[in-house]
């Protein structure tokens, strides 16, 4: 119950901040009307859009409409803002989800091997990858991939939205940074777990190295890994903006960036509220997953 109240407060706060900020940036009527329009024309349009009223009244109206699921009409697209934002979510979620899967599939096993044999080949290559991954911006990696795989080797389409072949490169470029972070974190947490007494006890029992690593060490290292992964999801959605631009991927990020530059208040507001709800949902899933994994976090025990 307290969590729910906290979530609602988070959404309210995020919407309030963006509501005020976007209105400080500029007046959309300048962009909506041709340059030769008069001040009277603009005043009329402001009145029509309800922008002439005090900000407090505007926000109250916004909240009231929000309760009914109405977030107003987009200034530039002339259609309801919320369905517009939601319609752009699937490609972005697909991109971020695929990137996330790749990051986990790459970073976790690699980090595990690096922790198992410090200074072994997995650890050495892993260190190089971690530096490259955390210093190479996703859009740059994306450009390199296009040059290499599409232009030189003609293996994958350069850009666009369609089947899996369109997804591979942007997702990989996006996952690069998170994979490097996951590798480092997995290595660190598994290394720490391997030093603990319960690992020694498992070895004393005669448990094989593989079972010690997977059943005991990885499971205990899983909590920070899961928390980190879910926090990366937000970052992934954020950096998806540049990747969506590089690969011409029609997504949520591109929509919001366009909306900001066009001062399309309603779309930006709808986007922020949707993003906030998304993050809260992801955090909730993370907490549930952690509680399922660690009996000490479980409520009521």
């Amino acid at each position: 119950m307290r969590r729910l109240a906290g979530s609602v407060a988070t959404i309210l706060l995020a919407s309030l901040v963006i509501f005020v900020l976007i209105r400080l940036v500029g007046d959309p009527t300048h962009l909506m009307l041709p340059p030769e329009a008069t001040d009277d024309d603009r005043a009329l349009l402001r009145q029509e859009l309800g922008l002439d009223r005090p900000m407090v009244v505007q926000y109250a109206t916004f909240l009231f409409d929000l309760l009914r699921g109405d977030m107003g009409e987009s200034f530039s697209y002339r259609q309801p803002a919320l369905p517009l934002v939601i319609s752009m979510l699937p490609p972005s979620l697909m991109l971020a989800g695929a990137a996330m899967l790749m990051a986990v599939a790459l970073g976790v096993p690699w980090g595990l091997l690096a922790a198992y044999r410090p200074d072994g080949w997995a650890d050495r290559t892993g260190r190089v990858f971690a530096v490259l991954g955390q210093s190479g911006p996703p859009f740059f990696v994306g450009l390199l991939l296009i040059r290499l795989l599409s232009v030189n080797w003609r293996l994958l389409p350069t850009s666009g939205y369609g089947d899996v072949t369109h997804l591979v490169m942007p997702a990989f470029a996006l996952s690069w940074y998170s994979a490097a972070g996951l590798l480092r974190l997995t290595r660190a947490s598994v290394t720490e777990a391997l030093r603990s007494d319960y690992i020694l006890t498992a070895r004393i029992k005669g448990v094989s190295d593989r079972a010690v690593l997977l059943r005991h060490a990885l499971r205990n290292a899983a909590l920070p890994i899961i928390t980190f992964t879910s926090s990366q999801f937000g970052i992934l959605l954020g950096s998806a903006v540049s990747i969506e631009a590089v690969f011409a991927w029609p997504g949520f990020g591109k929509l919001i960036v366009d909306a900001i530059s066009q001062l399309d208040y309603t779309v930006v507001q709808a986007g922020v509220v949707v993003a906030a709800v998304l993050f809260i949902a992801i955090n909730l899933c993370t907490d549930i997953l952690c509680a399922a994994l660690d009996p000490r976090i479980r409520l009521g025990s």
């Binding site: 020694l200 006890t201 004393i204 029992k205 005669g206 499971r219 205990n220 660690d294």
Partner: protein, 327 residues
């Protein structure tokens, strides 16, 4: 009959030329007997025990020596053979029962793991059934309910019982208990020790009890080995050594033990134990010894047979300082 465990000149160090942390210790232990391994922190007690399991910390190795269990040379076994021996024939209980249990695994699964590894039992229901029996054997009340609990739901004493259960589940010939009661309440200590004693008698299991606690050794062990700076300085039957210690260090340890009658002032041993490699020659204890002379600081002083199964690494066994001798 040959002893169950026979350790000869075991030497542990980080490399062939690095200072030895355990410097050529030799031990014998018969089936069903209990050996107390005592000494200050850092004397090499735990390392010596981990070496028996070939589970030394990263970077440390057995440089020299032989370890035979039932005539089988452990240092020559492959990793897989050694793994079968661990938990199967040798068990070890660690000092802190909370950290030695996996916080995310149910107790039944952790005990069951031993049966899965050593008896090839596959199914969880079968493993839990065995775990319940094992818990019942260490007198955990309502074991049927406790198998599904987690470590944090147990009290300290119960946790140590669970840890003991895990390690004796497959009836090992030798159990090493590394300060098994140090982390426990005083009232629980005796219970845990009695439990270890009972199990030892019932199963004819040999026990190595690592401890600082001399009265505990006097009460629960047959033999005692005193370690100082990586070496055994005195060993023999408990009664004989406690009645009349041969090595000045053993005498100091016994003198530093509080007694209930409280008539005698508690003695201390002045100074600190030397760090590994800092003693070039002579007896490592010479600088703290109250009977040492110039001869004690030269050459290598090996264990000297004193008869009655006793041995001490001292040039002047049974010597007393002049003041005490006069009194």
């Amino acid at each position: 009959m040959s002893p169950l465990l026979h350790v000869e000149t075991l030497r542990i160090a980080a490399g062939p030329h690095a200072p030895a942390l355990v410097d050529g210790i030799s031990l014998e232990l018969d089936r069903g007997k209990a050996l107390g391994l005592v000494g200050e922190s850092g004397a090499g007690k735990t390392l010596a025990c981990l070496a028996l399991l070939r589970l030394l910390p990263e970077g440390l190795h057995i440089q020299d020596g032989r370890i035979r269990l039932d005539g089988q040379e452990l240092t020559a076994l492959t990793d897989t053979e050694m793994r079968r021996l661990r938990g199967g024939r040798i068990g070890m209980v660690l000092q802190n029962p909370l950290s030695s249990l996996n916080p995310l695994m149910r107790i039944g699964d952790q005990i069951g793991e031993a049966f899965a590894v050593h008896r090839g039992v596959r199914w969880r229901t079968a493993l839990w059934k065995l775990a319940v029996e094992a818990l019942r054997a260490v007198r955990i009340p309502t074991p049927e309910q406790r198998v599904s609990a987690y470590a944090h739901q147990f009290s300290g004493g119960m946790r140590q019982r669970v840890a003991i259960t895990m390690n004796i589940a497959c009836a090992p010939d030798l159990l090493i208990a590394d300060e098994p009661t140090t982390a426990l309440d005083a009232t629980i200590r005796l219970q845990v020790l009695r439990l270890l004693g009972d199990i030892r008698r019932e199963r004819r299991m040999a026990l190595i009890l690592v401890t600082h606690d001399l009265p505990m050794v006097a009460r629960f062990c047959d033999d005692v080995a005193v370690m100082y700076a990586g070496r055994i300085v005195e060993r023999g039957p408990v009664e004989a050594i406690f009645a009349n210690p041969a090595h000045p260090y053993t005498r100091g340890l016994i003198g530093a033990t509080p007694r209930l009658d409280g008539r005698r002032r508690l003695a201390t041993i002045a100074g600190q134990p030397p760090s590994p490699g800092s003693i070039a020659s002579g007896c490592a204890f010479a600088s703290r010894c109250d009977v040492a002379d110039a001869g004690c600081r030269q050459g290598r002083i090996d264990l000297l047979d004193l008869g009655e199964q006793r041995a001490a690494a001292c040039r002047k066994p049974f010597a007393r300082p002049p003041a005490e001798a006069a009194a």
